[in-house]
Amino acid sequence: MGQNLGLAGPVQVNRDFCKRCGYYFEFCPRGVFERPDEITLKGVTPPRINEWAECTMCSLCTLLRPDIAVSIEV
């Protein structure tokens, strides 16, 4: 779904759904996400996958997603 902004990893970010809650940067235990400088047309900064190799598929991001924007393809 959506547009994968990182490398060919399992974590997907849907930029259309994002409202910039910022929870992923703060609460991802492995620091997979980074906050990019670019701002979308809606004025938000969707998370970008920085280090997907660090991802352990704990799926915390798919639970802690208020806007249902992040998914993990299993």
Partner: protein
């Protein structure tokens, strides 16, 4: 930029065509909705057997996003509608998702009497300490000293302890979590769906746009970090001892898990007895 709606993992459980939802950035209600839907997905729940009922308010919008039969009812009457659904068709699982103002101010009487009768339903209450949708007025859960639109110099009313109210009214399963304890919340929702009887889950949700702004609590991320610092997990204590003081301490956990005869079973047994007699 294309949106691949069909491929979303929650497509069978959520009306993805209605997402993005109406809730503000950083609002905890999105996490609550996601957690509930994730619990349904983990249980592989039959969506034809589920009815979601909600009242009015920000949380009341939740029923519209779930891909099951749903009622968006009048203010405060969600539990009254849910009681009718359950008694009419006991095979259905009825879930009420609503806010603290809807369930405990306008619908307070329906709540305590549904808990007293022990009707089989799961009530999920999002507690954000104010009436968010109408601009942040004082509600029954607003903590002492908090500023709202209708208490600009600080609240002087004692708030409800919702979990204690549910337990004292007769609920068979009571737990409280914050939107930060999302994995434990999902497990509690699964337990509540399976539990026979009146189950109550209180979810402390940050309202950064209104409550957070009046009380200078920062954005949603600041409020979530605050919840992380002040929440304490204490399983099994009676909810009257589970203090809820935003800014100081919020006790969370599974508080009550007991067994009692259930109302719709008793209705069916009574009808059968009368028909045979």
């Amino acid at each position: 930029m294309t949106r691949a709606i069909e491929e979303h993992p929650l497509t069978g459980y959520l009306r993805i065509d209605r997402v993005p939802h109406i809730w503000c950035e950083g609002c905890g209600l999105g996490i609550l909705l996601n957690s509930f839907v994730q619990a349904l997905k983990d249980l592989e729940f039959d969506m034809d057997k589920l009815v979601v009922v909600s009242g009015i308010g920000c949380t009341g919008r939740a029923s519209g996003y779930i891909k099951s039969d749903a009622y968006h009812t009048t203010h405060g009457r969600a539990i009254a509608f849910a009681t009718g659904v359950k008694v009419a068709n006991p095979d259905l699982k009825v879930v009420v998702i609503s806010g603290d103002g809807d369930l405990f101010a306008i619908g307070g009487n329906h709540f305590i009497h549904a808990a007293r009768r022990n009707i089989d339903m799961l009530v999920i209450c999002a507690n954000n300490f104010n009436y968010g949708m109408t601009g942040g007025q004082l509600g029954p859960t607003t903590p002492i000293g908090s500023r709202t639109q209708t208490s600009p110099y600080g609240n002087i009313e004692q708030p409800f302890n919702l979990s204690a109210l549910a337990a004292c009214s007769g609920a068979v399963y009571v737990s409280r979590w914050t939107t930060l304890h999302v994995r434990r919340l999902t497990e509690s929702i699964k337990k509540g769906i399976h539990k026979k009887g009146f189950s109550f889950i209180e979810v402390i949700a940050p309202c950064s746009t209104v409550y957070g702004r009046y009380n200078r609590l920062g954005d949603g991320l600041d409020m979530m970090n605050d919840l992380k610092e002040i929440s304490v997990i204490k399983h099994g204590i009676y909810p009257t001892e589970a203090t809820i003081e935003p800014g100081k301490e919020i006790v969370v956990g599974d508080f009550v898990d007991i067994e009692k005869p259930e109302y719709s079973d008793m209705v069916q047994a009574f009808i059968k007895e009368q028909m045979e007699g």
